[in-house]
């Protein structure tokens, strides 16, 4: 009998031990999270409506209550919210997460990113992280992972390894692979670019949608013309991640969209920037937010769009189509498409909200488009809301964005998982450059040179390098195959490849090469993120020589505190490359 009792005792013990396992927020091991505070007398936008003069109590990473003033135990921080508005942490409905994107987004009150194409390696860790209520300084990531596109189609040009689709019968396996990689939904590219790019046909798109739905995930489509958007709609997609702007949205499309429950992430800000109608670089001058921008944000905000005359015609259609869809009742979701040209992570969601209001949404509707609407459509539980039990991702702004949408940019404080995060950009510290030779062609410096070409980015150009007494000889071939082919040689400032160092007192870079058949470019790599775009400058021709002298201080986007490398490259038309670097000085 003893053993029978033992068996039952064992079962009971196991059951109790299971029930005692730690749950989120109730951590037994890590030190208790100090996140207990109240915001008093604050205007609250709870994701749907406005509550005036409320008290919001946050505890253990979640909103505990929203309502009247409440007596709290001594020691609980009370924050006066008079004249301020508390918003749910914003959701960017279209972003691409690389490097420090998620940190930059969070510093601007954007606490969840719906990524629409990124390297899949970060997805599974992100999935685990976003279930936690522990302290975090990053926006949580939801992602499509790799996008669905045709061989050679849009999306294959960025240097990521993109498995492409050729046949409808490949779609089930393809979708299953994405789900296994951690994709939360499927993004399908329909982008013939006026017949210049291969793209997925209707049959494959329909098969992809079916496969995504079989896995219980959303199928979203990138389309930029009415024709392509209609094809996607017919295929049964759940959402469009851009608004088409080639022609006005017809009644029939609206009727079908309403019937199928389609939502649209217009990405007004990136379209405006691409079309030359919106200038993201003005944010650099913003009194309040400009100084908080990271170099990566500044870089992408200042990248130019196309600014064609076609653009000026199409921009009114962008706004008109958003308005038509919105007024008919098609759900609109705010998305920035950062870090594409003219946008920056986090900041461009605020820009997008302003543009949505310009397109005819009321400020409350615009705020819903960045909170409750994406939360509902993407099933983001506890996000985009300020209600008991919601995740305490909060954005406190001064003023009243319900009256003036620009007030979302008056960011005072941001909390992620109930913990306040630092709003300023803080560059990671670097070591000072350890070498004091100013002549970079001196024998001791030769080891820091290496041949480099666009093969690194998936291109086909080649480069080889030979040390001569007179300088560094570069030979190679410039071949088409990447967005911007290059072939040349690079000098590394740190001892590791592309390692950042502080240039300290060096202020002046001069280079000179012998060769013919330009153009040649000087590219300077700097910044806290190794993925930051280089500063690109054309070398100036002087007979058979090309050269350039630059004051580093004159380059606004250069960060001497995080100097990584510079390269001298042949760029432009395909050709044989041969040049000799005869002077390179950093003084």
């Amino acid at each position: 009998m003893k053993h029978l009792i033992l068996i039952f005792v064992l079962i009971a013990t196991l059951a109790i031990l299971t029930l005692l396992l730690p749950t989120p927020g109730a951590s037994s091991e890590s030190p208790p999270v100090v996140s207990h505070f109240a915001i008093d007398n604050v205007r609250v936008f709870d994701g749907h409506q406005v509550i005036e003069n409320a008290t919001v109590i946050v505890q253990d990473g979640q909103v505990r209550s929203v309502g009247d003033n409440e007596t709290l135990s001594a020691g609980v921080e009370r924050i006066d919210g008079s004249g301020k508005t508390l918003l749910p942490g914003l959701i960017d409905g279209h972003a691409h997460s690389f490097g420090d994107s998620r940190i930059d987004a969070a510093r601007f009150g954007v606490t969840s990113l719906l990524d629409m194409f990124t390297a899949p390696e970060q997805l599974l860790p992100a999935r685990q992280q976003r279930t936690s209520l522990d302290r975090s300084t990053q926006a949580d990531l939801f992602s499509a992972g790799i996008l669905a596109t045709a061989p050679g189609g849009h999306g294959t040009q960025y240097g990521l390894d993109v498995p492409t689709l050729d046949q409808p019968d490949e779609t089930a396996d393809w979708v299953a692979e994405r789900i296994a990689e951690g994709s939360d939904y499927i993004k399908i590219v329909v982008e013939p670019l006026g017949g210049r790019l291969p793209t997925l046909n209707a049959e494959i798109v329909a098969a992809l949608v079916e496969a995504a739905h079989a896995h219980g995930v959303l199928a979203l489509a990138h389309a930029s013309t009415l024709e392509d958007a209609t094809m996607a709609l017919n295929a049964g997609v759940d959402g469009l991640v851009h608004i088409f702007q080639d022609q006005p949205v017809p009644e029939a499309f609206i009727a079908q969209a309403l019937e199928s429950g389609l939502f649209v992430v217009p990405t007004t800000v990136v379209l405006g920037s691409m079309l030359g109608a919106v200038d993201g670089s003005t944010w650099l001058e913003h009194d309040h937010l400009g100084p908080r921008l990271s170099p990566v944000q500044r870089q992408s905000l200042t990248q130019p769009g196309w600014a064609t005359s076609l653009g000026q015609q199409r921009w009114p259609l962008v706004l008109a189509n958003i308005q038509a869809l919105h007024q008919a009742g098609v759900p609109i979701i705010a998305g920035s498409d950062a870090p594409n040209p003219g946008t920056g992570h986090g900041i461009s969601v605020h820009h997008e909200l302003q543009l949505l209001v310009e397109a005819g949404l009321t400020p409350i509707e615009a705020l819903m488009a960045a909170t409750s609407v994406p939360a509902q459509r993407f099933s983001l539980e506890g996000r985009g809301c300020i209600k008991p039990g919601c995740r305490a991702d909060l954005l406190l702004v001064s003023g009243n964005p319900i009256a003036d949408i620009e007030a979302t940019g008056a960011i005072e404080r941001v909390w992620k998982n109930g913990q306040e995060i630092e709003l300023a950009y803080i560059a990671p510290p670097t070591e000072a450059i350890g070498r004091d030779e100013h002549d970079l062609l001196a024998p001791d410096e030769r080891q820091y040179w290496q041949a480099a070409s666009d093969q690194f980015m998936g291109g086909k150009s080649t480069a080889s390098m030979e040390n001569r007494e007179s300088g560094v000889l570069v030979q190679g071939q410039l071949l088409t195959g990447s967005f911007s082919p290059y072939s040349g040689a690079m000098w590394m400032a740190g001892s590791g490849a592309m390692e950042a160092v502080d240039l300290a007192d060096r202020q002046h870079l001069s280079v000179r090469i012998k060769g013919d058949g330009g153009p040649f470019q000087l590219m300077i790599f700097s910044g806290a993120s190794p993925g930051a775009m280089p500063v690109m400058l054309d070398l100036v021709q002087d007979d058979a020589e090309y050269g350039l002298d630059v004051e580093l201080a004159d380059l606004a986007l250069l960060e001497p505190g995080h100097f990584r490398a510079f390269g001298i490259f042949a760029t432009g038309q395909p050709r044989d490359v041969e040049f000799e670097i005869v002077e390179a000085r950093l003084e």
Partner: protein
């Protein structure tokens, strides 16, 4: 007579209990099947690959389930068969189904100990936090998932000689665990192995575990159906094996 006593005197319960004692008193079974998965999880899941504690908890706990089931049945049945013990039981009025149920319940208990212990390791050293429902689901899913592997072990134990059974079980246990992505997550395996994994039952049990914990929400119905199919296949093989054994 109290209820407990009447339960106790029931021959079915007697046999369940005897099978439990059988395993508990065999340290060559109980220690490796309990400790190996915990040790592997500590090495791989907690020390060597940080940040993936939840994912690897699901897969290594599945691995633990696989071992407890295969060894309890495969090795146990084969040696009992060789010793003539099974034959004797069959000749006696003892209900044979209770012997099998006893083994299955014991294997499930061992599996539950492994899973709960590993969950605590994950919580204490891997910072894994799950809603209470997810913890309970993880334990229940994996304990129930012991069944198909019990049947597989039973089939092996009935078909193979006592010398061959442990060798074959070891040959199945480790590669099956690896190929099903229990040690290294399936997305990290080469393409050909990824395809192979989807054909293996532990992959689907791990898939269910990953689903209920939220580590990787997936097609749980597919996993469940595949596991049911395998349960039928293994059950059929075991039934054939039983005929083979009783026909001797």
């Amino acid at each position: 007579m109290s209820l407990a006593q009447s339960i106790y005197r029931n021959p079915h319960w007697q046999l369940v209990q005897s099978q439990w004692l059988n395993l508990v008193r065999l340290p060559s079974y109980s220690l490796p099947t309990l400790l190996f998965p915990l040790m592997f999880y500590s090495f791989f899941g907690l020390v060597m690959i940080p940040g993936q504690s939840l994912w690897l908890l699901c897969t290594f706990a599945t691995f633990g389930v696989l071992g407890t089931a295969l060894f309890a049945f495969g090795v146990g049945v084969a040696s009992e068969r060789a010793q003539g013990w099974l034959l004797l039981l069959r000749a006696s009025p003892a209900p044979v189904n209770a012997i099998l149920a006893g083994k299955a319940i014991s294997a499930m208990l061992f599996a539950a100990i492994t899973i709960v212990a590993m969950s605590w390791l994950a919580a204490l050293f891997g910072d894994v936090r799950l809603p209470i429902g997810a913890w309970v689901s993880l334990v229940l899913v994996l304990v129930a998932g012991t069944l198909p592997f019990c049947l597989l072990g039973l089939a092996i134990g009935l078909w193979l000689s006592p010398n061959a059974a442990p060798a074959v079980i070891n040959l199945i246990y480790l590669p099956l665990g690896f190929l099903s992505g229990l040690w290294i997550p399936v997305p990290a395996l080469p393409d050909a192995l990824q395809t192979l994994a989807t054909w293996l039952p532990p992959y689907h049990l791990a898939g269910l575990a990953l689903h209920v914990t939220g580590a990787l929400p997936g097609p749980w119905l597919v996993h469940l159906l595949v596991l049911l199919l395998y349960t039928l296949i293994f059950g059929f093989l075991a039934a054939l094996g039983w005929r083979h054994f009783t026909g001797n």
